[in-house]
Symmetry: C2
Subunit: 401 residues, 2 copies
């Protein structure tokens, strides 16, 4: 697919993350105005609430809400219709003017009301690397790992938008004689993609992989901040809890499935056939360069297509017991790690559990220190254009003892 040119000139550069081909949705406000829905184009935001008020677009008034849940609940046919209309209105020769706000003057908000947050574990490299560190090489990959997308429920209330500072947590950490109560000493990031569920399913009914894919509205970058020392002490037998509740940062821009469609890609090679309820008729991954920086330095870089389970497979598994999915559910892909150290999406892996420091701006580092800023990035490259996700950043504040 080639670049779609827009009358918003800044959207036409080959490296602009937000060309007309992208049109991600978000929630923004400007000084003295209420949060409402917008779409990114070049370095501007289309004020979708104002477009509705002017009669240029119709989304049932949902764009004046302070999150995308109302719009998502309208259903896929409306997502497609509104996207087509916006593409028409923003095209080079549309002859229309739209209410635009410069990104530089906007404050971004959490794009969705997070109904539920589920985090998966779908990179085989990551699962193996972390398994070795937590349980040794013999028990590294759990026996069910190649048969199901392992996941756990996270905490929806601690999901925040890119730019929100994250406080280093206090917690129980294994000590000489029982646990210490101390600030986390092994604070880490997790580079993930988050799938946003845009439709409800019915309790007691399973969702097929095909239907699951149709329920996914779009994707955001997601950093699942992790306190590794708190995790090591608390996580057996019921899974991570406070180690993952200090905060989860998501990007402000929701890139739609439609924008990613040209980049569809197979994922990692299968070790064994999947049970029928998890089989996909077509590849459910995307050729998407992803990575992360620490204080501006690129640290890890890989591709989303290293993953073993797609978001649609994760959603199908999530519903396999009859568990209902809801508009606004957020499904974390799991840490995206490639096979080499410089392709890993967490410091735990990159530093081999803190044993092998990495150089950051000339100094050796293992885990995240106070004041450090972590940012994630993702982009897909088309013919003369780029689909970007915008920043997913967070700076660490010192613990409050």
């Amino acid at each position: 697919m080639a670049l779609l040119r827009s009358w918003v000139e800044s959207a036409n550069g080959a490296d602009c993350p937000f060309p007309l081909n992208n049109l991600p949705y978000g929630v923004f406000s400007t000084t003295g105005t209420a949060p409402r829905c917008g779409a990114a184009i070049g370095d501007m935001i289309v004020d979708l609430a104002a477009c509705e008020a002017l009669g240029l677009l119709d989304a049932g008034g949902t764009f004046s809400q302070p999150q995308l849940n109302g719009f998502m609940a309208l259903g896929r046919a409306e997502w497609d219709r509104v996207r087509a209309r916006l593409t028409e209105l923003l095209a080079e020769n549309s002859g229309t003017q739209l209410p635009l706000v410069p990104m530089a003057k906007a404050q971004m908000h959490l794009p969705i009301r997070v109904t539920g947050f589920t985090d998966f574990y779908a990179s085989k490299n990551h699962a193996f690397n972390v398994g070795v560190l937590f349980r040794g090489p013999e028990n590294a990959l759990p026996p069910q790992w190649t048969h199901m997308p392992i996941g756990y429920n996270g905490r929806a209330s601690s999901v925040v938008v890119s730019g929100t500072p994250i406080r280093r947590p206090m917690g129980q950490i294994r000590g000489e004689a029982g646990p210490d109560w101390a600030p986390c000493r092994r604070l880490d990031l997790e580079l993930e993609l988050g799938a946003i569920v845009g439709a409800d399913s019915t309790m007691g009914e399973r969702v097929s992989v095909e239907k699951a894919e149709a329920m996914i509205f779009g994707y955001v970058l997601l950093n699942d901040w992790s306190a590794r020392d708190i995790q090591a002490w608390e996580y057996q037998p019921l899974g991570p809890f406070q180690a993952k509740a200090l905060g989860t940062t998501i990007g402000a821009w929701v890139v739609t499935q439609a924008a990613l469609e040209p980049f569809r890609s197979p994922g990692a090679e299968r070790v064994n056939p999947l049970l029928p309820y998890l089989q996909e008729a077509r590849p459910g991954f995307y050729d998407l360069q992803v990575g992360w920086t620490m204080n501006g330095q690129v640290m890890g870089r890989t591709n989303y297509n290293v993953m073993y389970y797609s978001s649609a497979q994760q959603l199908a598994h999530h519903s396999s017991s009859g568990c209902p999915l809801r508009v606004g559910d957020l499904l974390g892909s799991g840490t995206i790690s490639g096979p080499t150290r410089d392709a890993t999406g967490a410091l735990l892996e990159m530093t081999e559990g803190g044993k092998t420091p990495v150089m950051v701006n000339g100094a050796p580092r293992t885990f995240i220190e106070d004041g450090d800023e972590i940012d994630l990035f993702a982009h897909a490259r088309g013919d003369g254009y780029c689909i970007g996700f915008g920043p997913c950043t967070g700076k660490i504040l010192p613990a409050k003892p």
Copy 2:
């Protein structure tokens, strides 16, 4: 404390679960009317929305909402004021008439919009018994168990009100060569008390045990249905997921902390001192008889005061990383099991992992079969009165292959 007599005669019997001393809140509707808030008194429901409309009570209009979240968000001072006013209006010589609806004509709804569901693991007997079955006697009690209330995030969307049928889940179950896809063969209940959080906390701020207690609005009975065979295959290393997502049943009536205050009790004896952030100034448990029936036969019976961690301690720990709590969060106590088999709150323990059947209405049984109905009960005994919770019941429908 003695019975408070009401002009609603059915509330004055010594065995009535809903005397004036209790006044639990719920959400109900009658044919052709919208769900709204009510309070139980004897065999009647006070229509609190109608009371507000008549000017008899003031709760800012929140009682006409279809869940208690709006009322809870008003804060503890309002909870106390409204309770005092209701007690006055319903007292024997109040001389007032209130709009009442017979319970027999009402349909009960989920009393709260469940913002988050967290399940704990706070009975030492249960943790040990289940630990032996899943991991053997040497690794039964995890090393951190006596230092922290272990918990995990459950799935809020599958919480349903008492009386909702529960469908037996399909799932992956360990087989000879890889997993089978089959209906759950080891379906179980878990007898729990659920604490309902009635106030928000701030992200990045810890909540003390004392403040945590003040944030708890009340308690419901809670049955955390569990698919033990799905659980055994899936739960390592990230905890239970689909095994616990088929449904969680809660009672329709929220018994307030105020009603339980006269029954405050110490819990289980401490094995070691707790870290300061978990220490309670006064006992946070209640002398509350709890138990469960299967198809009408009493199976297990124990007391909530066998527990090791109170709901306030669980909430404090939940916030220890800075995780914000929200109005409408539901905290499951964990299975309440006493020291003997007939005091256990799950079939897994009662049948020793299915090896020792129990007799139910004359026939040997291990796990739950299709058509079985499980009900939970709880009551505290005062001087000539009883604080009951109402039913917490669910009937199992066959799996949909």
